[in-house]
Every structure is written in C-alpha cells, then in structure tokens.
C-alpha cells in the first residue's frame, strides 16, 4: 500500500444533506473496494457512536482508506474523509474539506438541493475542491433525476451532465462513482522532501495510545521517532506511531506528502491536537502554517446540574471524559441558588448541546438538570466596564447598565416558494431583518435574514420545520454584535426566584415569553399539597402569573387483593419520578420544567 505513487492517490469527502444517503454511499464504496464484506459491516461504518447512528447524523470525523484497481489494472488509494452534516459543526466541516482535493456531492433524486448542502458546497468551492455530482435514490418511484441535474446546474453552476445516477441503498452504479473519483478528482501535490506540513482534521482520545490525530500531509514526511511541533501552541511531541485507517488502525513506517493517515505522539489531551492546526517537524520546520486554523469558540451556553447534589463529582468526571474527545466543549463550575453546584457549559450550537446532554444521561447514566441556553451578551456598565455575560444570573442591575449588545447571525433559509409567507412571518416574529430573497429556480428561494442568535437558539429550527412541513433548511454564521433593548426575565415559583429559569430577552418579547413560560410551568409542575403561584417578573414588576392548584388526590383506591408487588411497583415508579425532580424551596420541579423556557409552542 505504501508504494502507491502520489499520482494514484485521491483524497475526497462526501457532501450531502441529512438523509440524502451519505453514509449509505460510504458503506457501498467500502464494500465495493473489498475492505469489508457486507456481512462484516455494520450498517454505516463511519458513524460509530450510538447516538450518531440514532440521530442519523455524523459528529466526529474519520477517514477510511480504500484500494481500487481500475479497468486497466492501475492501482489507486482512495482516502474517504468523513464530514459532519450539521451547521453546528461548520468549522470541522471546513477542515475536513481542506484535507481533500475533491468532494462527491450527493443529491437525493427526489428532494433536490438543500440549503445545508449548498452551504457545504460553497465551503468546498472556497477550498478549490473538484466537485463531483452524484444523483442518489434513483430507485425511488418519485425520483426525478433529470430535474435534479438541472437544479444542480442552475443553482450551483456545476456541470451535472455526467453525474452518475445511483442507488446507494440498492448498490446500483457504484462502479461509476469510483471511476468518477479517479478521473475527475486531481491527485494531491506536494514535495515529500520539503519541511513537514500536516493538517489535523480530527482527533480523539484513546486510553492506550493517548490522542490519535487524523492528518493530511501536504508537504514532507512524518515517521515514528521524529519530533513534531504543533504550530498553534509550539508544543513538541515525539511521534510514536503513524498509520492509515481502514476499518482499524494499521501502523506504517511513514506518511508522505499527499497521504491521509493518523499520528500518535503521547499527546494527553485533544486540546493539544486541535482540529485545523498544522503539524511540522521540530528539526526542519516550515515557516508558515496551513491557512484556516481558528480556535473554535462556543456560541451557546447553559448550566448543567446533577439532579441529585451528590452526583456533582460524577458530572464533572463525565464532562472531563467528554472533553477529552471534544475540544469545542468548555465548562467551568458554577453555583445556582436553585440547583446548587453544577457547571456552566459552552457549546457550538443547540444540537451540540443536546448531544452532550444525551451522552451524559445515556453513556454516564447521570440524571441532570439543564438550564435555559443562553448566548454571550456584551454589557457596557455605567462605570465604563465591558462585561461578557453568558449566564443571565450574572447580569448587573438594570440601573447600572449603559447598554447591552447581542450576537447577530446571518441566516440563509432555503425553501419551496409556497412556504415563504409563513417563514417570513416566523423570522419577523423572531426579530429578523430581511436582507434579500434569491430565486434558485421557479419554485425555490433562499431567504437571507439577519437574526439575533438568541432567537435562533430557542426552537427556531423546529418552528421552521413545522412552518414548511419539513422542507425548509437553515444555515447561519455569526456576523457580529448589535446594541439591543434587552431585559432579564425572572421566574418565581412559590415566591422564590429560581435563578436557573432566568433568561435574557428583548423587552418587546418579555411579556409574551413570561406568560408562555408561566403557562408551561403550570403544566409541568405536578400538584403539591399546597397551591403554588408561578410568576414571571422583570425586576420587581410581575408581568404574568399562574397557579398550580393544590393536590386533591393521590391514592390507590383499588383493591389489588394480595398483589402487593403490583402496588409497590406503582409506588416505586412514583418514587423514581420524584427522584427526577429538583426540590426548590418546598416545591418539587421536574427536569422537563427547566426546558420549558425553551419552547415557544407556536
């Protein structure tokens, strides 16, 4: 495998909208090139995490080396680099694209081009990648391959006339895809004798080897024994192993310019092998790193608290373990009057947040309470101080604030024209500023809006999907901060301010939100022995009020005869439910209630 010449290497990735068949196509390519037989293969080899498989999205990047022999007997190495498919992971996508010379653009023959696909295609075009269109799902009766080809040409401006018509699911025409990869995508360039220049496009922590970094070599050679240097931190490490990945790691004696593989160098934390960083040799370093590195910064913050106080250490251990593999997750301890000791955690976006929450519950079997997500606000105080606020509780008193600023994103929403009305209404209601509308074709448009990020993180995506019956897609980028009339909305339960429920909102929306949250909490909080007032307040002013009526009945009246076990099971279930609640003052609040501040219920 090592003897393959640079001209016979192809480094590529697959760009596709969720559900358009990326993973299935990857499976077929793996199968077709004989790496694994279909029997040996799980469904979708590249999506290894359980959660990812369930959600049908790919979070972590990996690469697979495929061996391909063309009709003339010429041998090729095809390195397939997997990319995440969600807007939260845009940066990671851009780094894995940077490791490639080309990309397969998989478009569903029944659905056509989607906004997210488009965003990734533009990222790929920016990186000068060769784009190879593939039309998938042609086996479906509703497939309209010719129209979709036309769409690709009209919308993206790519020549789709040669695009292979395939069905990844049925294994139809996979050979044509392999031929296109070899013929259309250029071989890598780069001098193996030049100073080392390798791009990290993913890394993860292995408990035996330490950090394993996936790399693409642009210049030079890397081999065990040499001392490498991370160019963003200048930290040095001795390489202990380099290799390639098939379905497992295979050590090799060196990786050279054009190769894709992995490196192990006794690195203790993924933070020291950050995605996008450049690795060079310590003896003969390159003078300039590869372009495009940036330290990812969290956009969304929330508090994560153990449902039971004594689990604090367990939550910390779990977060540390997750962080080892996720350089974009940040957390620090914080205290809440309502929830006790916990952590303020930063995420790339809402999806990232939800994934971490689910992993804490599922993989670490923890009961956690999550507070409402918040973005980072900038506050200028009257004393001239500039503050960054990511926890509403830390907001200074209104009288001390000169002005506040909130993050603004530029959002592109692609939708069939029939949903433009409802979507514009939605954006309007979320304080969006309409920029322009582009017609992609007669029946499809892209709407460009400037939206406050704090409006996007509250179930905007769900609302968009429901307004468009699932047809609209969303992509957004942070573009800066804007001054805004923001207030802190507090929630009082039974007279006690519950800090974990406080949110920062635009003044015009405070009443509406306060009312909705109070209504929602009324549904979520079970009846107690006493009536519980729920109030929403701005400062000392109450703007909404609801009451949870006192409990009248909680009794097993029925005679189950001698079946005490059954009675006990019912009680144990009730006890379990009680455990999942947080006691605040004398009120038990279920975990779901803390999320109710998230939902608009439109």
């Amino acid at each position: 495998m090592q003897n393959i010449k640079q001209k016979n290497i192809r480094n590529f990735c697959i760009i596709a909208h969720i559900d358009h068949g990326k993973s299935t196509l990857a499976d077929r390519l793996i199968e077709k090139t004989g790496l694994l037989t279909s029997r040996e293969m799980y469904d979708q080899v590249l999506d290894s995490m359980e959660l990812e498989r369930e959600r049908g999205i790919t979070i972590k990047l990996k690469s697979v080396r495929l061996n391909y022999k063309d009709d003339n007997g010429e041998e090729y190495v095809l390195n397939l680099i997997d990319t995440p498919g969600h807007v939260d992971f845009n940066y990671e996508v851009s780094r894995s694209l940077a490791a490639c010379e080309g990309a397969l653009l998989v478009v569903d023959a029944t659905q056509g081009v989607e906004a997210q696909t488009l965003a990734n295609v533009y990222l790929a075009i920016d990186q000068d990648l060769e784009i190879v269109p593939i039309i998938n799902k042609i086996d479906l009766p509703s497939a309209r391959p010719e129209e979709v080809k036309q769409e690709i040409e009209n919308i993206i401006g790519l020549d789709a006339s040669d695009a292979p018509l395939i069905s990844a699911k049925e294994g139809i025409n996979i050979d044509a895809v392999l031929k296109e990869i070899v013929n259309k995508i250029p071989a890598p360039k780069g001098d193996k004798d030049a100073p080392l220049k390798a791009l990290i496009f993913d890394s993860y922590y292995d408990s035996y080897k330490g950090v394993v970094a996936y790399i693409r070599i642009f210049e030079g050679t890397i081999k065990p024994g040499m001392v490498i240097r991370m160019m963003s931190t200048n930290k040095r490490y001795e390489v202990t192993e380099v290799g390639i990945t098939t379905n497992k790691h295979i050590p090799v004696d060196k990786l050279e310019a054009g190769d894709v593989g992995y490196v192990v160098a006794s690195i203790k934390n993924v933070k020291d092998a950050r995605v996008g960083d450049t690795i060079t040799g310590d003896d003969n370093p390159t003078d300039k790193p590869l372009p495009g590195y940036k330290k990812v910064i969290p956009m969304v913050y929330c508090g994560i608290y153990p449902a039971e106080g004594e689990d604090f250490n367990a939550v910390r251990d779990a977060l540390e373990k997750l962080q080892v593999n996720d350089a974009s997750l940040v957390f620090e301890p914080e205290t809440s009057a309502a929830l006790g000791y916990g952590f303020r955690c930063g995420f790339l976006g809402l999806l990232h947040m939800e994934i971490i929450q689910e992993r804490l519950e599922r993989e670490f079997d923890l009961n956690i309470v999550t507070t409402a997500p918040s973005v980072i606000y900038r506050v200028k105080t009257k004393s001239g101080e500039l503050l960054s606020i990511q926890n509403p509780t830390n907001l200074p008193d209104e009288t001390e604030i000169e002005y506040m600023e909130e993050p603004i994103v530029s959002a592109s929403i692609m939708t069939p024209t029939e949903y433009v009305g409802p979507i514009m209404e939605l954006c309007q209601s979320r304080r969006g500023i309409f920029k322009n509308m582009e017609y992609l074709e007669e029946t499809r448009v892209v709407l460009h809006y400037e939206l406050p990020l704090n409006e996007v993180i509250y179930d905007f995506f769900d609302a968009l999907k429901s307004k468009s019956r699932g047809f609209a897609s969303l992509d957004y980028d942070l573009i800066g901060y804007k001054q805004s009339d923001l207030v802190k909305l507090d929630i009082l339960i039974n007279g006690d301010l519950v800090d974990a429920l406080s949110i920062i909102v635009h003044r015009d929306k405070a009443y509406e939100r306060g009312r909705r949250i109070a209504e929602k909490l009324k549904e979520e909080i079970p009846r107690h022995l006493f009536a519980i007032p729920i109030q929403a307040a701005i400062g000392s002013k109450i703007i909404a009020r609801e009451t949870v009526k006192a409990l009248r009945k909680d009794v097993l009246a029925k005679c189950y005869g001698g079946d005490i076990t059954r009675k006990k099971k019912l009680l144990e279930k009730q006890k379990e439910g009680k455990k999942r609640m947080r006691q605040i003052g004398s009120v038990n609040i279920p975990q779901e209630a803390f999320l109710s501040v998230l939902k608009y219920d439109e």
Binding site: L551, V555, L556, K558, C559, G562, D563, T565
Partner: protein, 378 residues
Amino acid sequence: MKELALYIHIPFCHKKCYYCDFTSFSGMDKRIDEYIDFLLLEMNLYREILTEYVVKTIFIGGGTPSYIDGRYLVKIIEFIRKNYNLSYIEEITVEANPGTLNREKLIQYKEAGINRISLGVQTLNDKLLKSIGRNHSGKDIIENIKLLRELEFSNINVDLMFGLPNQAVEDCISTLEMVTDLGVEHISYYSLILEERTLMNKWYKEGKIKLPDDDLERKMYHKGVDYLKSRGYKHYEISNFCKQGFECKHNLFYWRIMPYIGFGISSHSNIENKRFCNFNNFKDYFAHLRERKLPISEVEYIDNNMEMAEYMIMGLRLVDGINKNMFKKRFGKDIEEVYGPVIDKYIKEGLLQENGVNIKFTEKGLDLSNIVYVDLLP
C-alpha cells in the same frame, strides 16, 4: 399453630368488563373442568408445606367464580376441608356477579359452608352499567340480594365504583342509598382506575370517554363516606365500610401482611418472608403441575426493611392505622425508631395523626396516601 388465609382464583367470565385487567377469560368454558383438576393438584402440593397452619379464611375470587357450575366450588371446598386444618375457619367468601346466580347454585354454596357473598354491583344505574360492560341490570342486583336474604346469607358485600365516565355524585349516593336500604353488611366503595391494556383505557386515550376530574372524583368519595357513616357503617379501610363486626377477615390478612397462599393462575402468595405469584396463563400453569412442580413464575424475598415498609403501607390503609405496640411486638423496634422523621414530617403536613396508640391517616391523608407511602419505601 399459625393462621393462614387461602385465595382461589377462578379465571372465567361470561364477558370481560371494559375496565378489568385481572386475569380472566371468556369463551374458555371448555377449560373449566381441566382447570379445577389442576387447582386441586396445586392445593395437594401445598398440603405438606402448610401442616403447621390453620386456615382462617377462604376467598374464591376471579374472574367470576359464580359463573362456573356450583359443583366445582363445592369440590374445591370439600378438598380443602379434607386436606387442611379448618377447625378455626371463620369466613368463606365467594365473588358473584348478578346474572350468574340462581337459587340452586346458592343452596349448593350454603351447603358447602360458604358464608359470605361478595357481589360485583359497581352501580345501580343501568346506563352506567352498560357503559362499563356489565351484563346485568340494577334490578337483577336487587333481586339477587333479596334471594340471598331469603336463603339466609347473613354476610353480603357489594363492590361499588365511583369516578365512572358520565357519573354524577347523585348516582353514587342513590346507589349507596339502595344498597344500604337492603341492609348489606359490607360495602367496598372504590374509584375506577384505568389500567393499561383495558378497553376503557384505550377509549380514554383516544378521547372517546371522559372521566370526572380529581375534584369531582373526591367529592364522590367524601360524599359517599359521609353518607355511609350516616347510615351507621364503619369506615374501616380507605375503600371499605361495614356494619359493626363485619370487616372482611380475609382482606385483613393482606392489610396486616399475614400469611396467605393463592391457588390458581396469576394468584399471589405471601408466606415466611417470600412473596410469589403463579403463572398467568394456562399453559405454564398446567405444565408445571403436570410435573408436580409449584406453578410459580416469580418470587420476591422480603427482607426486614421491606417487610416493615409493607406493613406500614398496607396497615395505613386501615382507618385505625397502625398500632404502635403491634409494630413493636412484630419487629422488636419502636415505630419511631424506624419511621420517626417520615411520621413527623407528615403529621406536620396534616396527612398523618397519632393518638399515643395508633398512627393513622387524617381525612386529607386518606386522599393523598401515596405521598406518604413513597417516603416509607426503603
């Protein structure tokens, strides 16, 4: 000698009621004969194990025991008499549904020694009866009770339900009025609970039926309790009422966690720190007995902590609650030593009360008993 209660399950019905999730089958009449033979086989297997016990009560429940031919019940009771110590027997109850009783059958019961009849009445409102799948009318019930009196059955229970769809408080009270006018000795007055896997639950989830809300449902309960008290009935358990001296002795075994053995499919037993239940289908039940093995599907071992908790949970169902001396006698510990904080907490919240001798629910506590129970679980 230790005291024991026996339960015998007859899993046959003419037709399953819409709210019922007990193990019972309709249209399985051809199995009855075979089932009774296996019941006797099971009782025979226990004979050796239970030599140190005297049987105080027998309860034949279902299903509808009165649905099957009277001679089967006679056969069962005769078998028990022959093989168990019945010298101290106090109560033999049979559950009966109106519409399945006749003079001949009742004479058979009487001769077999059955001295208590528990009638599944539910309500005397014909419309409501129909809506919950009962196949008898209010008139049938009244005639049945009169017949029982004529044949000198002097201990009659009626099961009544409240909280039915479209039921009004007035329906509850008028039913109570009629049964108390007939002078029944015992009344079980319990609320409808929708169980998974029942037709009514399905309808409820589909929105086809509506239930009274908690406030109305509690009103039905409290008005009922008040009414029965005014008619001279003693409220002795959350859902049970009786004339002086007519408490259900069999159920007291359950409420006081005393030994009982259940025979027949899906029946439950509690003896010597073990709780177990039988298979709930004919196939496994028969197969085990064919090999002379006890047809037990699950066993739970009850440690001291659990036994105490169960004693509290079941005992508090009794309106007189738990006698502190009895607790100490049984467990060798003061009740406060084990449950002091929970008891104090709920006395403060007005759910429990104590009078030096007993710890019991307040009126409010009877409505909210689960809240206390949850904290009593180990």
